[in-house]
């Protein structure tokens, strides 16, 4: 019904959060209920931060379908070698610099999984990662 794609630049910490803020504004306009909006906000924010910190750039898509909202994060590498490990709370490859900014605590992926009704992640080293999150409305 509606599908929007927002590019996210790698390494641009000053713009980190802009896309999730835009998605949130869109959800308010459309009247998505507060508890669902909250969960989606947490997930889009985490996904956006991940793209900025870890990827070589990518995009977030926000899609409303009958009965469900789908949020996808796709990036162009570097990919995750061990997904099970990456899904463990507290595990992170973030640099000290990023950690000093209050990010990279290793909670991003677990947080996304916890807040989404459907969660899937596929990744290929050197190619990229794709995370898909579904929210039932």
């Amino acid at each position: 019904m509606i599908k929007e794609t927002y590019p996210v630049k790698a390494g641009d910490m000053t713009a980190a959060g802009d896309v999730s803020a835009r998605i949130k504004r869109q959800m308010k306009q459309l009247g998505i209920s507060a508890p669902i909006m909250r969960r989606i906000s947490v997930c889009t924010y985490e996904a956006e931060i991940n793209l900025v910190i870890h990827s070589l750039g990518g995009e977030l898509t926000f899609e409303i379908m009958p009965g469900k909202i789908l949020v996808c994060a796709r990036d162009r590498g570097p990919g995750i070698a061990d997904i099970d490990k990456a899904m463990t709370e507290g595990w992170s490859t973030a640099s000290n610099e990023v950690r000093n900014m209050g990010f990279g605590a290793g909670m991003g992926l677990p947080n996304m999984k916890r807040n989404a009704d459907e969660f899937s992640i596929t990744s290929q080293v050197g190619v990229g990662t794709e995370i898909s999150m579904g929210f039932l409305i």
Partner: protein
């Protein structure tokens, strides 16, 4: 601006903050400072979008022409009922020059004509106690968000509906004070409660609205709200004259502290609290709370005004001067130990809100989900055609707001002076083109006539 009790309580979207049309010059200062984008400039005057206004008073503070005003009750209102109790906000104590203790200020309130004075700081003590208990005992969504600043509560209703469940369901110190003051007065003097009026002395416009159209309660315990600005001169004169001794139960530092930022968080005994003042800052932090960016934050005190209530739009004294003065008043009050646990235990259960706080859906587009999607799409299309300068010259605060207004039929693209300019330039060059193509149609005319025609044609275009 004054007003009696002409306006009914609970009127839909009652607002204290109003526009004085005579004084408004139609500039864009308030437009650019309104945190909820509730102002538009139309026909060279500001208008306030009632459903969006949260009465924070930012526009009152920034308007150079004093065209934004807060409607409060006149002092005469204290004769509405047989007995009148003053409820001074602790901010009042810091307004008067000189080394005055709160005692001198309370004495001046008696001289204004009140039969009794009950410090709102005492209400704050009970509320602090009740919130403290809630923080320890209950399984609540963290962080618990303060309900004391009515502008912030309204901001959450509009912009952060998912955080409504975090707001503490305990009434504000003003309400607690009014309730307890009336009960105590009725008991002490053996008079019926309905003959007692309680009047808040306010630094804040949003509190007027909170009394007329309460959130979380059916009706307010407060009978009138009087601006500090309106009692200042008379009180100052009384204070200079010295005072007669009086007897009331006095508030402790715990409650007085609430006037300044962080006072509330200290008073409720939170282990990991955050206090933020200034509405723009509060909005940024609420955004971060919504994104789960805080670890183990248990209490959030958000204050719309910089320097909290001391920076309220209806105060007289500079907020920093007042803060410094309040610190000395707090130190003085600290020497006194008050133990009111019994009263607190009794009162705390009666201070719960009785009505749920509802989200305010003004940011939501109207119609079915399909219509909403369609409108959202049109807003994006219109926005893409606008220059993106957010200059406010069109009378809407941002290009996005103008796009919203256009889609809702409340403005047209030609409200944008940049688009208008483009259009005029295009028309002007069309006219020139037209003139050129007809230049040789009347060969007998000289060059001067041609030039004049050219001037006239571009002049015409500018009148379009």
């Amino acid at each position: 601006m004054k007003e009696g009790s002409a306006l009914p309580k609970n009127e839909t979207y009652y607002h204290s903050v109003r526009l004085d049309v005579e004084k408004c010059k139609g500039c864009t200062i308030c437009l650019k400072h309104c945190p909820t984008e509730a102002i538009r400039i139309r026909n060279n005057r500001a208008t306030i979008l009632s459903e969006r206004c949260i009465d924070c008073g930012e526009c009152i503070k920034v308007c150079k022409h004093h065209a934004k005003v807060a409607v409060t009750d006149p002092l005469d209102i204290i004769h509405k009922k047989r007995y009148a109790i003053a409820l001074p906000a602790p901010t009042l104590y810091a307004q008067f020059p000189g080394e005055h203790k709160a005692t001198a200020i309370i004495a001046a309130l008696f001289r204004l004509g009140f039969d009794d004075v009950f410090e709102v700081a005492r209400g704050a003590e009970v509320v602090s106690y009740a919130i403290g208990k809630t923080l320890i005992s209950q399984d609540r969504t963290l962080p618990v968000i303060s309900s004391a600043c009515p502008a912030i509560v309204r901001m959450i209703q509009i912009n952060f509906p998912s955080l409504i469940e975090n707001i503490i369901d305990i009434v504000s110190p003003m309400e607690a004070a009014a309730k307890i003051a009336k009960e105590e007065f009725a008991r002490k003097h053996g008079v019926p409660a309905q003959e007692i009026g309680a009047y808040f002395i306010t630094p804040c416009a949003a509190k007027v609205t909170a009394v007329r159209a309460p959130i979380g309660q059916e009706e307010s315990y407060v009978d009138g709200v009087i601006s500090i600005l309106d009692v200042y001169t008379a009180m100052n004169a009384f204070i200079k004259e010295g005072f007669e001794p009086f007897e009331i139960d006095r508030a402790s530092a715990v409650g007085i502290r609430w006037a300044a930022p962080g006072g509330e968080a200290t008073a409720v005994g939170s282990r990991n609290a955050l206090c933020v003042d200034g509405i723009e800052n509060v909005m940024r932090v609420l955004e971060q709370i919504e994104n789960n960016r805080f670890d183990r934050l248990d209490y959030f005190e958000g204050l719309a005004c910089v320097n909290g209530c001391l920076g309220g739009p209806l105060t007289v004294e500079n907020a920093y001067v007042a803060k410094n003065r309040l610190n000395r008043i707090i130190k003085h009050a600290e020497q006194k130990k008050v133990n009111r646990t019994a009263i607190f235990e009794h009162a705390q259960d009666t201070l719960r809100m009785t009505k749920p706080i509802e989200p305010n859906n003004v940011l939501q587009l109207e119609g079915s989900i399909f219509e909403r999607l369609e409108k959202a799409e049109r807003i994006e299309q219109v926005l893409a055609s606008l220059p993106g300068l957010d200059c406010g010259s069109c009378g809407s605060p941002t290009c996005r707001a103008l796009a919203w207004d256009i889609v809702h039929g409340d403005a047209s693209e030609m409200n944008c002076i940049h688009k208008l300019n483009e259009r005029i330039s295009a028309l002007a060059s069309q006219m020139i083109e037209l003139e050129r193509s007809t230049r040789f149609s009347s060969p007998q005319e000289g060059e001067k006539t041609q030039l004049r025609a050219k001037e006239e044609s571009s002049h015409e275009a500018f009148r379009v």
